[in-house]
Protein backbone atom coordinates (compact mmCIF):
# COMPACT_ATOMS: atom_id res chain seq x y z
CA UNK A 1 0.00 0.00 0.00
CA UNK A 2 1.45 3.35 -1.02
CA UNK A 3 1.38 6.16 1.51
CA UNK A 4 -1.18 8.86 0.94
CA UNK A 5 0.31 12.35 0.94
CA UNK A 6 -0.16 14.25 4.18
CA UNK A 7 -0.93 11.20 6.37
CA UNK A 8 -4.49 11.22 5.08
CA UNK A 9 -6.70 8.17 4.69
CA UNK A 10 -10.18 7.36 3.51
CA UNK A 11 -12.45 5.55 5.97
CA UNK A 12 -12.80 1.79 5.86
CA UNK A 13 -9.58 0.45 7.36
CA UNK A 14 -10.40 0.70 11.07
CA UNK A 15 -12.28 -2.62 11.04
CA UNK A 16 -8.98 -4.24 10.00
CA UNK A 17 -8.15 -4.03 13.68
CA UNK A 18 -10.15 -6.81 15.28
CA UNK A 19 -10.47 -5.64 18.87
CA UNK A 20 -12.42 -8.76 19.85
CA UNK A 21 -9.11 -10.31 20.84
CA UNK A 22 -8.88 -7.89 23.79
CA UNK A 23 -11.87 -9.57 25.43
CA UNK A 24 -11.82 -11.64 28.62
CA UNK A 25 -15.55 -11.74 29.35
CA UNK A 26 -18.15 -12.07 26.64
CA UNK A 27 -21.78 -10.92 26.67
CA UNK A 28 -24.66 -13.33 26.32
CA UNK A 29 -28.27 -12.26 26.10
CA UNK A 30 -31.43 -13.83 27.41
CA UNK A 31 -33.94 -12.91 24.70
CA UNK A 32 -36.78 -13.92 27.00
CA UNK A 33 -35.94 -10.93 29.20
CA UNK A 34 -34.97 -8.48 26.42
CA UNK A 35 -37.44 -5.64 25.87
CA UNK A 36 -35.62 -4.20 22.82
CA UNK A 37 -35.30 -0.89 24.62
CA UNK A 38 -32.14 -0.01 22.69
CA UNK A 39 -29.97 0.81 25.69
CA UNK A 40 -27.25 -1.72 24.84
CA UNK A 41 -27.01 -0.75 21.18
CA UNK A 42 -26.67 2.93 22.04
CA UNK A 43 -24.29 2.45 24.97
CA UNK A 44 -21.72 0.20 23.27
CA UNK A 45 -18.54 2.22 22.59
CA UNK A 46 -17.55 -0.28 19.88
CA UNK A 47 -20.70 -0.22 17.73
CA UNK A 48 -20.67 -3.96 18.39
CA UNK A 49 -24.23 -4.51 19.57
CA UNK A 50 -27.14 -4.58 17.15
CA UNK A 51 -30.80 -5.39 17.35
CA UNK A 52 -31.76 -7.00 14.07
CA UNK A 53 -34.81 -9.11 13.25
CA UNK A 54 -35.73 -9.24 16.90
CA UNK A 55 -32.32 -10.60 17.93
CA UNK A 56 -29.62 -8.85 19.94
CA UNK A 57 -26.33 -9.64 18.20
CA UNK A 58 -22.85 -9.03 19.54
CA UNK A 59 -20.15 -8.57 16.97
CA UNK A 60 -17.45 -10.59 18.66
CA UNK A 61 -14.85 -9.40 16.14
CA UNK A 62 -14.95 -6.03 17.91
CA UNK A 63 -16.61 -6.49 21.32
CA UNK A 64 -13.92 -5.74 23.90
CA UNK A 65 -15.99 -7.33 26.64
CA UNK A 66 -16.27 -4.16 28.68
CA UNK A 67 -19.69 -5.08 30.01
CA UNK A 68 -21.36 -1.67 29.72
CA UNK A 69 -24.25 -3.32 27.90
CA UNK A 70 -24.79 -5.82 30.71
CA UNK A 71 -24.40 -3.20 33.42
CA UNK A 72 -26.90 -0.85 31.79
CA UNK A 73 -29.52 -3.34 30.61
CA UNK A 74 -32.65 -2.31 32.51
CA UNK A 75 -34.11 -5.81 32.14
CA UNK A 76 -30.89 -7.50 33.30
CA UNK A 77 -31.05 -9.59 30.12
CA UNK A 78 -27.30 -9.49 29.40
CA UNK A 79 -24.66 -11.40 31.36
CA UNK A 80 -20.89 -11.34 31.04
CA UNK A 81 -19.32 -14.78 31.12
CA UNK A 82 -15.67 -15.81 31.11
CA UNK A 83 -14.81 -16.70 27.56
CA UNK A 84 -13.17 -20.04 26.90
CA UNK A 85 -10.21 -20.01 24.55
Amino acid sequence: MALRIGAAAAPGRAPDNKTGSWRVFMPIVDMEKCTHCGTCTLACPETAVSDEDGEIRFDLDYCKGCGVCANECPAKAIKMILEEN
Partner: protein
Protein backbone atom coordinates in the same frame (compact mmCIF):
# COMPACT_ATOMS: atom_id res chain seq x y z
CA UNK B 1 4.03 49.25 -15.98
CA UNK B 2 6.43 50.57 -13.39
CA UNK B 3 4.86 52.38 -10.47
CA UNK B 4 6.35 53.57 -7.23
CA UNK B 5 5.08 51.81 -4.16
CA UNK B 6 6.02 50.75 -0.66
CA UNK B 7 7.39 47.19 -0.53
CA UNK B 8 4.64 46.01 1.81
CA UNK B 9 1.97 47.37 -0.48
CA UNK B 10 3.52 45.63 -3.46
CA UNK B 11 3.39 42.37 -1.50
CA UNK B 12 -0.25 43.01 -0.64
CA UNK B 13 -0.98 43.64 -4.32
CA UNK B 14 0.76 40.38 -5.21
CA UNK B 15 -1.20 38.48 -2.58
CA UNK B 16 -4.43 39.98 -3.86
CA UNK B 17 -3.65 39.05 -7.46
CA UNK B 18 -3.24 35.43 -6.37
CA UNK B 19 -6.92 35.46 -5.34
CA UNK B 20 -6.72 33.95 -1.85
CA UNK B 21 -10.12 32.94 -0.48
CA UNK B 22 -9.04 33.31 3.12
CA UNK B 23 -6.50 35.70 4.62
CA UNK B 24 -5.58 35.45 8.27
CA UNK B 25 -2.77 37.19 10.05
CA UNK B 26 -1.82 38.80 13.30
CA UNK B 27 -0.14 42.19 13.26
CA UNK B 28 3.57 42.34 13.99
CA UNK B 29 6.18 44.90 13.03
CA UNK B 30 7.41 45.07 10.26
CA UNK B 31 4.74 42.91 8.56
CA UNK B 32 1.82 45.18 9.50
CA UNK B 33 1.59 47.31 6.36
CA UNK B 34 0.94 44.18 4.30
CA UNK B 35 -2.03 42.95 6.29
CA UNK B 36 -3.42 46.43 6.81
CA UNK B 37 -3.45 46.93 3.06
CA UNK B 38 -5.13 43.55 2.50
CA UNK B 39 -7.76 44.39 5.11
CA UNK B 40 -8.40 47.64 3.24
CA UNK B 41 -8.76 45.76 -0.03
CA UNK B 42 -11.35 43.44 1.53
CA UNK B 43 -13.15 46.39 3.13
CA UNK B 44 -13.26 48.20 -0.20
CA UNK B 45 -14.43 45.15 -2.12
CA UNK B 46 -11.24 44.98 -4.17
CA UNK B 47 -10.48 41.53 -2.81
CA UNK B 48 -13.19 38.88 -2.42
CA UNK B 49 -11.76 37.01 0.56
CA UNK B 50 -12.58 36.18 4.14
CA UNK B 51 -10.23 38.29 6.25
CA UNK B 52 -9.92 36.88 9.77
CA UNK B 53 -8.51 39.04 12.54
CA UNK B 54 -7.28 36.52 15.05
CA UNK B 55 -5.94 36.34 18.57
CA UNK B 56 -2.37 35.34 17.75
CA UNK B 57 -0.03 34.01 15.10
CA UNK B 58 -0.78 30.55 16.44
CA UNK B 59 -4.39 31.03 15.40
CA UNK B 60 -3.49 32.85 12.18
CA UNK B 61 -1.65 29.94 10.66
CA UNK B 62 -4.08 27.42 12.18
CA UNK B 63 -6.93 29.24 10.46
CA UNK B 64 -5.00 29.08 7.21
CA UNK B 65 -4.42 25.36 7.71
CA UNK B 66 -8.15 24.76 8.20
CA UNK B 67 -9.13 26.81 5.15
CA UNK B 68 -6.47 25.16 3.04
CA UNK B 69 -7.60 21.71 4.13
CA UNK B 70 -11.15 22.68 3.17
CA UNK B 71 -9.86 23.47 -0.31
CA UNK B 72 -9.19 27.21 -0.32
CA UNK B 73 -6.10 29.09 -1.42
CA UNK B 74 -4.96 31.05 1.63
CA UNK B 75 -2.44 33.72 2.54
CA UNK B 76 -0.72 34.90 5.68
CA UNK B 77 2.24 37.07 6.63
CA UNK B 78 4.35 37.42 9.73
CA UNK B 79 7.74 38.28 11.18
CA UNK B 80 10.12 37.26 13.90
CA UNK B 81 8.42 36.45 17.22
CA UNK B 82 5.21 35.82 15.34
CA UNK B 83 6.86 33.14 13.27
CA UNK B 84 8.25 31.60 16.44
CA UNK B 85 4.80 31.53 18.05
CA UNK B 86 3.56 29.80 14.90
CA UNK B 87 6.44 27.37 14.78
CA UNK B 88 4.48 24.32 15.83
CA UNK B 89 1.88 24.97 13.14
CA UNK B 90 4.62 25.72 10.60
CA UNK B 91 5.96 22.18 10.87
CA UNK B 92 2.44 20.75 10.99
CA UNK B 93 1.35 22.50 7.78
CA UNK B 94 4.31 21.04 5.92
CA UNK B 95 3.65 17.54 7.25
CA UNK B 96 0.03 17.86 6.21
CA UNK B 97 1.26 19.00 2.80
CA UNK B 98 -0.87 22.13 2.59
CA UNK B 99 0.49 24.55 -0.03
CA UNK B 100 0.12 27.70 2.05
CA UNK B 101 2.18 30.75 1.10
CA UNK B 102 3.30 33.11 3.82
CA UNK B 103 5.27 36.32 3.51
CA UNK B 104 8.02 36.80 6.03
CA UNK B 105 9.17 40.36 6.65
CA UNK B 106 12.45 39.27 8.19
CA UNK B 107 13.23 40.57 11.66
CA UNK B 108 15.60 39.69 14.48
CA UNK B 109 14.56 37.47 17.38
CA UNK B 110 14.62 38.45 21.04
CA UNK B 111 16.07 38.67 23.53
CA UNK B 112 17.01 41.43 23.52
CA UNK B 113 13.91 42.69 21.79
CA UNK B 114 14.61 44.11 18.38
CA UNK B 115 12.14 45.19 15.74
CA UNK B 116 14.92 45.56 13.19
CA UNK B 117 16.02 43.36 10.39
CA UNK B 118 18.04 40.23 10.20
CA UNK B 119 17.11 36.79 8.89
CA UNK B 120 17.27 34.71 12.03
CA UNK B 121 13.51 34.09 12.04
CA UNK B 122 12.98 32.30 8.74
CA UNK B 123 16.44 30.71 8.66
CA UNK B 124 15.75 29.16 12.06
CA UNK B 125 12.84 27.31 10.46
CA UNK B 126 14.93 26.01 7.58
CA UNK B 127 14.08 22.39 8.47
CA UNK B 128 10.34 22.92 8.78
CA UNK B 129 9.44 21.64 5.32
CA UNK B 130 8.53 25.01 3.82
CA UNK B 131 10.46 26.09 0.77
CA UNK B 132 12.05 29.48 1.25
CA UNK B 133 12.52 32.22 -1.32
CA UNK B 134 14.44 35.44 -0.59
CA UNK B 135 13.99 38.66 -2.54
CA UNK B 136 16.67 41.26 -3.20
CA UNK B 137 14.38 44.13 -4.07
CA UNK B 138 10.69 44.97 -4.12
CA UNK B 139 10.29 43.66 -7.66
CA UNK B 140 11.82 40.30 -6.92
CA UNK B 141 9.92 39.72 -3.68
CA UNK B 142 6.68 40.67 -5.39
CA UNK B 143 7.25 38.27 -8.29
CA UNK B 144 8.24 35.49 -5.90
CA UNK B 145 4.71 35.36 -4.49
CA UNK B 146 3.26 34.32 -7.86
CA UNK B 147 6.01 31.79 -8.34
CA UNK B 148 5.58 30.44 -4.83
CA UNK B 149 1.87 29.73 -5.19
CA UNK B 150 2.32 28.10 -8.56
CA UNK B 151 5.12 25.84 -7.37
CA UNK B 152 3.54 25.00 -4.01
CA UNK B 153 0.23 23.89 -5.48
CA UNK B 154 1.69 21.50 -8.03
CA UNK B 155 0.64 18.00 -7.06
CA UNK B 156 4.20 16.77 -7.35
CA UNK B 157 5.13 19.34 -4.67
CA UNK B 158 2.25 20.17 -2.27
CA UNK B 159 4.47 21.99 0.16
CA UNK B 160 4.06 25.39 1.79
CA UNK B 161 6.47 28.23 1.15
CA UNK B 162 7.88 31.35 2.74
CA UNK B 163 8.53 34.41 0.63
CA UNK B 164 11.13 36.25 2.69
CA UNK B 165 12.29 39.84 2.41
CA UNK B 166 14.18 42.07 4.77
CA UNK B 167 11.95 43.87 7.21
CA UNK B 168 11.96 47.69 6.89
CA UNK B 169 14.81 47.62 4.37
CA UNK B 170 12.44 46.22 1.77
CA UNK B 171 9.05 46.18 3.46
CA UNK B 172 9.11 49.90 4.19
CA UNK B 173 10.99 51.16 1.16
CA UNK B 174 9.30 53.05 -1.66
CA UNK B 175 10.68 52.12 -5.01
CA UNK B 176 9.51 51.43 -8.54
CA UNK B 177 7.92 48.06 -9.13
CA UNK B 178 6.04 46.48 -11.99
CA UNK B 179 2.81 44.92 -10.70
CA UNK B 180 1.22 42.54 -13.19
CA UNK B 181 -2.45 42.87 -14.03
CA UNK B 182 -5.13 40.49 -12.75
CA UNK B 183 -5.60 39.11 -16.26
CA UNK B 184 -1.90 38.35 -16.52
CA UNK B 185 -1.78 36.58 -13.17
CA UNK B 186 -4.97 34.66 -13.94
CA UNK B 187 -3.27 33.42 -17.07
CA UNK B 188 -0.15 32.48 -15.12
CA UNK B 189 -1.61 31.01 -11.93
CA UNK B 190 -4.47 28.53 -12.40
CA UNK B 191 -7.11 28.09 -9.67
CA UNK B 192 -6.05 25.89 -6.75
CA UNK B 193 -6.92 22.23 -7.12
CA UNK B 194 -6.53 20.53 -3.73
CA UNK B 195 -5.21 17.01 -3.47
CA UNK B 196 -6.57 16.13 -0.02
CA UNK B 197 -9.73 18.04 0.81
CA UNK B 198 -12.22 18.01 3.64
CA UNK B 199 -15.47 17.30 1.86
CA UNK B 200 -18.57 15.49 3.13
CA UNK B 201 -19.08 14.03 -0.34
CA UNK B 202 -15.77 12.23 -0.12
CA UNK B 203 -14.71 11.76 3.51
CA UNK B 204 -11.04 11.72 4.35
CA UNK B 205 -9.16 11.79 7.64
CA UNK B 206 -6.32 14.29 7.55
CA UNK B 207 -3.46 14.67 9.99
CA UNK B 208 -3.63 11.17 11.42
CA UNK B 209 -0.89 9.91 13.65
CA UNK B 210 1.76 7.54 12.41
CA UNK B 211 3.35 4.74 14.37
CA UNK B 212 7.06 3.94 13.97
CA UNK B 213 5.97 1.66 11.13
CA UNK B 214 4.95 4.66 9.02
CA UNK B 215 6.46 7.88 10.34
CA UNK B 216 9.84 7.71 8.62
CA UNK B 217 8.29 7.03 5.24
CA UNK B 218 6.15 10.15 5.54
CA UNK B 219 9.24 12.20 6.35
CA UNK B 220 11.05 10.61 3.42
CA UNK B 221 8.19 11.47 1.09
CA UNK B 222 8.22 15.06 2.31
CA UNK B 223 11.92 15.31 1.61
CA UNK B 224 11.37 13.99 -1.92
CA UNK B 225 8.64 16.59 -2.37
CA UNK B 226 11.08 19.27 -1.22
CA UNK B 227 13.57 18.14 -3.83
CA UNK B 228 10.84 18.27 -6.47
CA UNK B 229 9.92 21.75 -5.21
CA UNK B 230 13.33 22.86 -6.48
CA UNK B 231 12.52 21.73 -10.01
CA UNK B 232 9.04 23.19 -9.77
CA UNK B 233 10.29 26.60 -8.63
CA UNK B 234 12.76 26.59 -11.48
CA UNK B 235 10.15 25.58 -14.06
CA UNK B 236 7.47 28.02 -12.96
CA UNK B 237 10.17 30.69 -12.60
CA UNK B 238 11.08 30.13 -16.22
CA UNK B 239 7.42 30.33 -17.26
CA UNK B 240 7.18 33.58 -15.32
CA UNK B 241 10.12 34.92 -17.26
CA UNK B 242 8.50 33.97 -20.55
CA UNK B 243 5.32 35.83 -19.62
CA UNK B 244 6.70 38.82 -17.74
CA UNK B 245 10.28 39.18 -18.93
CA UNK B 246 11.82 38.58 -15.51
CA UNK B 247 13.35 35.13 -15.45
CA UNK B 248 13.54 33.14 -12.21
CA UNK B 249 14.56 29.78 -13.60
CA UNK B 250 17.75 29.85 -11.51
CA UNK B 251 17.80 29.46 -7.73
CA UNK B 252 20.84 31.71 -7.62
CA UNK B 253 22.01 34.77 -9.46
CA UNK B 254 25.68 35.21 -10.27
CA UNK B 255 27.02 38.75 -10.47
CA UNK B 256 30.43 39.41 -12.03
CA UNK B 257 31.62 35.96 -11.11
CA UNK B 258 33.93 35.56 -14.13
CA UNK B 259 37.54 35.19 -12.92
CA UNK B 260 36.50 36.26 -9.39
CA UNK B 261 39.18 35.86 -6.73
CA UNK B 262 36.70 36.32 -3.94
CA UNK B 263 33.01 35.55 -4.12
CA UNK B 264 30.32 36.71 -1.75
CA UNK B 265 27.30 34.55 -1.02
CA UNK B 266 24.25 36.27 0.45
CA UNK B 267 20.46 36.35 0.63
CA UNK B 268 18.12 39.27 0.35
CA UNK B 269 18.51 43.02 0.21
CA UNK B 270 22.19 43.08 1.13
CA UNK B 271 22.90 41.73 -2.36
CA UNK B 272 22.17 45.15 -3.89
CA UNK B 273 24.75 46.83 -1.70
CA UNK B 274 27.20 44.02 -2.45
CA UNK B 275 26.75 44.50 -6.19
CA UNK B 276 27.55 48.21 -5.90
CA UNK B 277 30.57 47.38 -3.75
CA UNK B 278 31.74 44.81 -6.30
CA UNK B 279 31.55 47.40 -9.08
CA UNK B 280 33.77 49.69 -7.02
CA UNK B 281 36.20 46.89 -6.17
CA UNK B 282 36.40 45.80 -9.78
CA UNK B 283 37.15 49.41 -10.75
CA UNK B 284 39.98 49.28 -8.24
CA UNK B 285 41.27 46.01 -9.63
CA UNK B 286 39.86 43.73 -6.95
CA UNK B 287 38.21 40.81 -8.66
CA UNK B 288 35.09 40.19 -6.57
CA UNK B 289 31.78 38.58 -7.45
CA UNK B 290 28.48 37.58 -5.87
CA UNK B 291 26.35 34.48 -5.82
CA UNK B 292 22.94 35.53 -4.60
CA UNK B 293 20.72 32.78 -3.20
CA UNK B 294 17.09 33.22 -4.14
CA UNK B 295 15.89 29.73 -3.25
CA UNK B 296 17.32 28.81 0.12
CA UNK B 297 15.07 25.76 0.66
CA UNK B 298 15.44 23.42 -1.07
CA UNK B 299 19.11 24.31 -0.86
CA UNK B 300 20.49 24.59 -4.39
CA UNK B 301 23.82 22.96 -3.54
CA UNK B 302 24.72 21.90 -7.07
CA UNK B 303 23.93 25.28 -8.55
CA UNK B 304 25.98 26.99 -5.86
CA UNK B 305 28.90 24.62 -6.32
CA UNK B 306 28.79 25.27 -10.05
CA UNK B 307 28.64 29.03 -9.61
CA UNK B 308 31.54 29.03 -7.15
CA UNK B 309 33.71 26.53 -9.02
CA UNK B 310 37.31 27.69 -9.17
CA UNK B 311 36.90 30.67 -6.84
CA UNK B 312 39.62 30.52 -4.19
CA UNK B 313 37.81 32.37 -1.39
CA UNK B 314 34.14 32.51 -0.56
CA UNK B 315 32.73 34.99 1.94
CA UNK B 316 29.22 34.18 3.14
CA UNK B 317 27.40 37.20 4.53
CA UNK B 318 25.15 36.00 7.32
CA UNK B 319 22.28 38.00 8.76
CA UNK B 320 21.91 35.26 11.30
CA UNK B 321 23.95 33.36 13.83
CA UNK B 322 24.05 29.64 14.40
CA UNK B 323 25.06 29.88 18.02
CA UNK B 324 27.76 27.52 19.11
CA UNK B 325 28.88 26.37 15.67
CA UNK B 326 32.35 26.64 14.21
CA UNK B 327 31.40 28.92 11.34
CA UNK B 328 28.83 30.98 13.26
CA UNK B 329 26.60 31.31 10.20
CA UNK B 330 23.80 29.03 9.08
CA UNK B 331 24.26 29.58 5.36
CA UNK B 332 28.06 29.21 5.44
CA UNK B 333 27.79 25.74 6.89
CA UNK B 334 25.63 24.71 3.96
CA UNK B 335 27.75 26.45 1.34
CA UNK B 336 30.81 24.74 2.77
CA UNK B 337 29.01 21.43 2.56
CA UNK B 338 28.10 22.13 -1.07
CA UNK B 339 31.80 22.73 -1.80
CA UNK B 340 33.15 19.67 -0.01
CA UNK B 341 36.24 18.33 -1.75
CA UNK B 342 36.82 21.40 -3.91
CA UNK B 343 39.48 22.97 -1.70
CA UNK B 344 37.64 26.29 -1.78
CA UNK B 345 37.93 28.26 1.47
CA UNK B 346 34.53 29.24 2.82
CA UNK B 347 34.13 31.81 5.58
CA UNK B 348 31.07 33.15 7.32
CA UNK B 349 30.73 36.78 8.38
CA UNK B 350 27.93 37.60 10.77
CA UNK B 351 26.71 41.05 9.77
CA UNK B 352 23.74 43.32 10.14
CA UNK B 353 22.14 41.60 13.12
CA UNK B 354 19.20 43.44 14.64
CA UNK B 355 19.25 46.14 11.97
CA UNK B 356 22.94 47.12 12.06
CA UNK B 357 23.46 48.99 8.80
CA UNK B 358 25.75 47.43 6.20
CA UNK B 359 27.71 49.73 3.89
CA UNK B 360 29.80 49.26 0.79
CA UNK B 361 32.96 49.85 2.80
CA UNK B 362 31.99 46.95 5.07
CA UNK B 363 31.67 44.68 2.08
CA UNK B 364 35.10 45.75 0.88
CA UNK B 365 36.59 45.13 4.31
CA UNK B 366 35.10 41.65 4.40
CA UNK B 367 36.62 40.88 0.99
CA UNK B 368 40.00 41.86 2.41
CA UNK B 369 39.48 39.60 5.44
CA UNK B 370 38.57 36.69 3.18
CA UNK B 371 41.68 37.29 1.05
CA UNK B 372 43.74 37.03 4.24
CA UNK B 373 41.92 33.87 5.31
CA UNK B 374 40.26 35.47 8.31
CA UNK B 375 36.63 34.59 8.79
CA UNK B 376 33.93 32.72 10.71
CA UNK B 377 33.47 35.80 12.82
CA UNK B 378 31.24 38.72 13.65
CA UNK B 379 31.99 41.71 11.47
CA UNK B 380 31.28 45.25 12.61
CA UNK B 381 31.17 44.74 16.36
CA UNK B 382 31.42 47.87 18.51
CA UNK B 383 34.46 46.62 20.37
CA UNK B 384 34.34 49.60 22.74
CA UNK B 385 31.26 48.03 24.32
CA UNK B 386 32.84 44.67 24.93
Amino acid sequence: MLQIMEGSHAVAEAAKLCRPEVVSAYPITPQTHIVERLAEMVADGELDAEYLCVDSELSALSVCLGSSAAGSRVYSATSSQGLMLMAEVVFNVAGMRQPIIMSIANRALGAPLSIWNDQQDSLSLRDSGWFQLYGEDVQEMTDQHFIAYKAAERHDVLLPGFVCFDGFILSHTYEPVDIPTQEEIDAYLPPYVPYNKLDAKSPLSMGMYATPDYYMEFRYETDLAMQRAGNAISEVGKEFGEMFGRDYSMHTESYRMDDADVAFVALGSICGTVKDAIDEMRADGIKAGLVKIRTYRPFPAKEIAHALAGVPKVAVLEKNISLGTSMKGIVGLEVKDALTGTGIDVYSYVVGLGGRDIRKKDIRAIAALAEKGEGNMFYGLRTELL
